[in-house]
Amino acid sequence: MAVYLPIWQIIIICFALPAVGFFLGVLFQSLIRKLTARFQGRRGPWYIVPKSLRPVVGSTRILQPFWDIMKLMYKQTLIPSTAQRKIFISAPFAASTSLIIAIWFIPIIGISPFGPFEFSLIITLYLMLIVPLTIVASGAASSSPWGAIGSYREVILTLAYEIPFILGIFSTAMLTGILTPVYGGVPLIPGSLSLTDIVNFQASHSISFFGFKIPAFFILLNPFAAAAILMSLIGKLKIKPMDIPDAEVEVIAGAYTEYTGKLLGVYEIAKILLLFISLTLFIDMYLGGALVTVNYLGVPSFIWSGIVFGVEIVILILIISVVNAANARFRIDQAFTWYMKIPLILSLIGLVWPYIMVSLAGAGVSIGINIV
């Protein structure tokens, strides 16, 4: 049965968890900027400033996204007189608030304040979908032609990437139900829509991958859905080939064009929280949630979990940075066509792959992955 914490601890965690998420998100964003710069032959934000320059520009720039946000918070906020005032002001706060709530439902190294919440996957998906909606609303409300074009592009891109994203997420959530009878559990339970259950399933079961016994990572059990999700996340995070809605040389800043000062700062916070949530969701769904349950070498298991989380995040950020640095920008119609071609087909294969895999295993065909 679920163990629920006392109410005061839940309140503390509810405030602390978004702060931790924001801090880690700043680090991830900084790492993406640094790695992208290095792949482009630049230096990126200086992590160690040369000694002669330290009196002028400070000693380190690891927290460069944080300084950008703080700078925006100390700037004047202008609101265009022709803008739809209420929507224009409330949209960035809606985006940030929905993401702060979404952090509560995502287990980070297996820790979730509300315990094994039943439908946390559904809640997270809906809360993440609020962000593109607010961007569309704010671009349209800013009464700027660039904002209108940005909104229009955001609508098309969201429609394109959400279909493979949702299909991939649900085909992975089905895995817990399909695999439970294979592992000898209660047969024919439906797949769980709780992220905590998905993480615990991966941590508590094991597979043999070409002879090695490892935890049942869903990225190995359903690689097609994982690839589709990663491609959708690139659109969700506006990584280079898909940064069409805020392409700075085409539409000035898209929906953010008329945003200044604190409102832009709140949008930047939302971007950083979205980065954190997306990467953590991917790790929870496919990389076992970075949950280690054994005290190896006498070190507590949560320290091991933290190390594994860090390694997995760095690998994901490396992939994202390579994609960001290696690609030029798609046109919006190319992006739509691409999403309808590759990720959608991958996610559809991912939808039937678990059944194929289980029946292959039942027929005794070896595909390198065996359920132990």
Binding site: P45, W46, G58, D68, M70, K71, K75, L78, E248, Y259
Partner: protein, 147 residues
């Protein structure tokens, strides 16, 4: 140094206003933002939107037809803001400088500081990228001391 000053010094976002110059300074600004000098090391990023910018880099003599647009662009920037005049033309008028006998060039709207307040002057025709980056850092220091 407080949080406010530090934040303003650490992330100056620049905006490049091209005011009827010969493009020489524009090329040098582009060179200053290139991988070789990469000013993102110290947090400088180019935003082609005055609403997001802290520092405006102005180049060129401002032709008469250009004056209202420069004023309007300056007004679109949220405070605190700083202006860096880049190149001889933006500082004094350069080769278009008023001659004593004949008066100013008939297209000249004046050096930049007759139209908007200028904080940092970067001389040269065109100035070197190092000088431009130095000017941006000096402008960021001025910016951080603003109210």
């Amino acid at each position: 140094m407080g949080l406010k000053q530090k934040a303003r010094l650490y992330s100056p976002w620049v905006f490049h206003a091209h005011c009827s110059g010969c493009n020489g300074c524009g090329i040098e600004i582009a060179a200053a933002l290139n991988p070789r000098y990469d000013p993102e090391r110290i947090g400088v990023t180019l935003h082609n939107n005055p609403r997001h910018a802290d520092i405006m880099l102005v180049e060129g003599i401002v032709a008469k037809q250009h004056v209202p647009f420069l004023k309007r662009t300056y007004d679109q920037m949220p405070t605190p803001k700083a202006v860096v005049a880049i190149g001889s033309c933006a500082i004094t008028g350069g080769v278009f400088k008023p001659d004593d006998d004949k008066g100013p060039s008939y297209t000249q709207g004046g050096p930049v500081d007759r139209i908007i307040p200028v904080d940092v002057y970067v001389p040269g025709c065109p100035p070197k990228p190092e000088a431009i980056i130095d000017g941006v850092i000096k402008a960021a220091i001025i910016l951080s001391k603003r109210e």
